[in-house]
Amino acid sequence: MELRGVGQGYGAREVISGLDLDVRPGVLGLLGPNGAGKTTLLRTLATVAPPTRGAISVCGTPVVSQRAARRVRRHIGYLPQHFGFYPGFTVYDFVRYCAWLRGVPAATIDASTREAIDFVDLSQRSGAKLRSLSGGMIRRCGIASAIVGRPRLVLLDEPTVGLDPAQRLEFRAVLRRLRAANVAVMLSTHLVEDVAAVCDDVVVMRDGRLIWRGDPESLAAAALPSAEGDTPLERGYMSLLGGQRAIA
């Protein structure tokens, strides 16, 4: 997926502006403070919010209309920040419903559903109602709904919020499996330790702009001696936010 000069906002307010970004297989971390435009960027990538300017293309196909957007959505899995679900659905029903929404062919929808549920280790609970699951299981179910039908791009908006440490470890294992499956994953998060654990690449946003891109080691190396933070990565991230260093 390629974004060129993408701007996004409503009314006179521009939430992201002039953004160029390539998303390729692997896990790409998206860091930034609140209000940086991370969610807006993910919604733009998910083609939910068409850009006010600039161009998006997927595998060379420009997304210029609702119809084109629907076509590419078959290849995009999206777990919104506020992940909604019907509490009365079973895990299986919900993931299958999401597969149906994604346009997974009827002939393969059940197999795809089982595969996605297996992938997040929820097979034992596939018949359980969502209301009966823990927060971590709900998140895994959300990921299953995002990856069902094997999309080529998976967008995860702060998926680890509210998870306990054990659940976050489980979640990271899922991300590693996605990476191994050669899926392009974009992970928006506040938690730099998640980035350190699973991301191949990191982008940092601030005020609607991409201010840095590199691998986690480079981010750690960008730390200023005076920067706040408990880990090298946190110090590198805080340095970028406070140090006004803009690197493409």
Binding site: A46, A49, P80, Y97, R102
Partner: protein, 420 residues
């Protein structure tokens, strides 16, 4: 796969808890008003159709609740990001609601058929009345679905739908229901077609009108154009329904009415065959009256069988609420022939009317066999029913003299009286 998804929606619909209530409402409304429709196919069809109006309000509320779950569960964002357009998902939701509505509607129809069949005349349930009920189910579900989609409050949609549907009771030209299915009338094809089309349009609007946007930056849905257009479409539809004329129109009389053999004969519409015996017995009781100057017609006709231009046709009886409504019509038919035509001075008008009313009450009591015929209203105005009941139990010759005295009093109250 769509069937599987539909089944999933049906299984999780909140209406599954309400289905017993809907069915109970259906059956309660079928039998709750009266049972005289049993055995008369058009009446049974109309009776089976009417509960759809009452449980339609519950159905509309349920539809609004169901449609609003997308917002409440926070699924709107996933729907916006779906490869499928929004409408198939909305269609699944609306279809699940419609299934519950039709499942609730069906028992009343089946029961109406089952209880009517042993007593019924020719024919079967009238599809036109049942179709009106189906229209009402579709309209209720669609209006509810639309309300649930457009308003986020969990309380507003059910209330709005109930108000809209209840409004039908006061907006007579756009009613989607009939209170009864008298044999003299039938559903107008034009009125039915417009209502059917309107219900379908409402369903299409409910499915396709863009829902409330969750995020301000969600573009691509021309809601600003579609919603006013939908409102105009709905208003235009209502105007067309109003212009399509009344829902029920007069029906052509049968070439072969169903008539009793005994004198005086009674002739009814064939569909009301189960009442031939009842009305025939009433006529027979009138024929057995002890004289006194009463004149009976040779045949009592049910309304609609004769050309309205025939002089006595206006007094032809109607089975408005089963047999209990017939005596007043039979009495009118007898009095039409019996009472002289007089000029009545203003000073005697009250006396003249009072004596006619006494005779009327007496004939009704005699034809029905008891004072029940006069219903809860207590008979004609100003009449002492105890006196009438007392007269009806006296020896026949006393009754004949009482009748003769009433006729004489009427002649005295009038001037220039002449027999008809």
């Amino acid at each position: 796969m769509t069937a599987v998804m539909l089944w999933t929606e049906v299984r999780r619909s909140p209406l599954r808890w309400w289905l017993p209530v809907l069915i109970a409402l259906d059956v309660a409304m079928l039998f709750g008003r009266n049972t005289w429709w049993i055995g008369v196919w058009p009446e049974a069809s109309a009776a089976a159709q009417l509960p759809a109006y009452f449980f339609g309000m519950v159905l509309g509320g349920g539809a609004a609740w169901t449609a609003g779950r997308v917002h409440r569960a926070g699924i709107a964002e996933q729907l916006a990001a779906a490869a499928r357009p929004r409408w198939p998902a909305e269609l699944l939701l609306l279809s699940s609601t419609l299934i519950y509505g039709l499942v609730a509607y069906a028992p009343g129809v089946v029961i109406a058929a089952v209880v009517s069949a042993p007593h019924a005349g020719p024919g079967f349930l009238w599809l036109s009345y049942l179709g009106i009920g189906v229209c009402l189910v579709v309209l209720s579900a669609s209006a509810g679905h639309l309300a649930g989609k457009l308003w986020s409050s969990r309380f507003v949609p059910p209330i709005a739908v109930a108000i809209c549907l209840f409004g039908q009771t006061v907006l007579r030209p756009v009613r989607f229901y009939v209170l009864s299915g008298h044999v003299q009338v039938e559903i107008s094809a034009t009125a039915f077609a417009t209502r059917f089309a309107f219900a379908l349009v409402m369903a299409v609007l409910a499915v396709t009108i863009p829902a409330r946007a969750v995020h301000r930056d969600t573009r691509g849905t021309p809601a600003g154009v579609l919603r006013p257009l939908a409102a105009v479409t709905v208003m235009a539809g209502l105007v067309m329904i109003a212009m399509a004329g009344p829902l029920q129109v007069t029906r052509a009389a049968p070439s072969q009415p169903l008539c009793s053999a005994a004198k005086p004969r009674v002739c009814l519409w064939p569909e009301e065959g189960r009442y031939v015996g009842l009305v025939g017995a009433m006529a027979a009781r009138l024929a057995a009256l002890p004289g006194g100057g009463l004149k009976l017609p040779e045949t009592f006709y049910e309304a609609g069988l004769r050309d309205p231009a025939v002089p006595d046709a206006a007094a032809d009886f109607r089975l408005l609420e089963g047999g209990v409504s017939v005596p007043s019509f039979l009495s009118s038919a007898v009095l039409n022939r019996t009472l002289p035509v007089c000029d009545v001075p203003a000073a005697n008008s009250e006396k003249f009317t009072h004596e006619a009313f006494r005779l009327d009450a007496y004939l009704q009591v005699r034809s029905y066999g008891t004072a029940e015929a006069l219903g809860s209203g207590g008979g004609p105005p100003g009449i002492d029913m105890r006196e009438i009941a007392d007269v009806a139990h006296r020896p026949e010759r006393v009754q004949a003299k009482w009748v003769s005295d009433r006729l004489a009093a009427i002649r005295r109250a009038g001037e220039n009286c002449r027999d008809r």
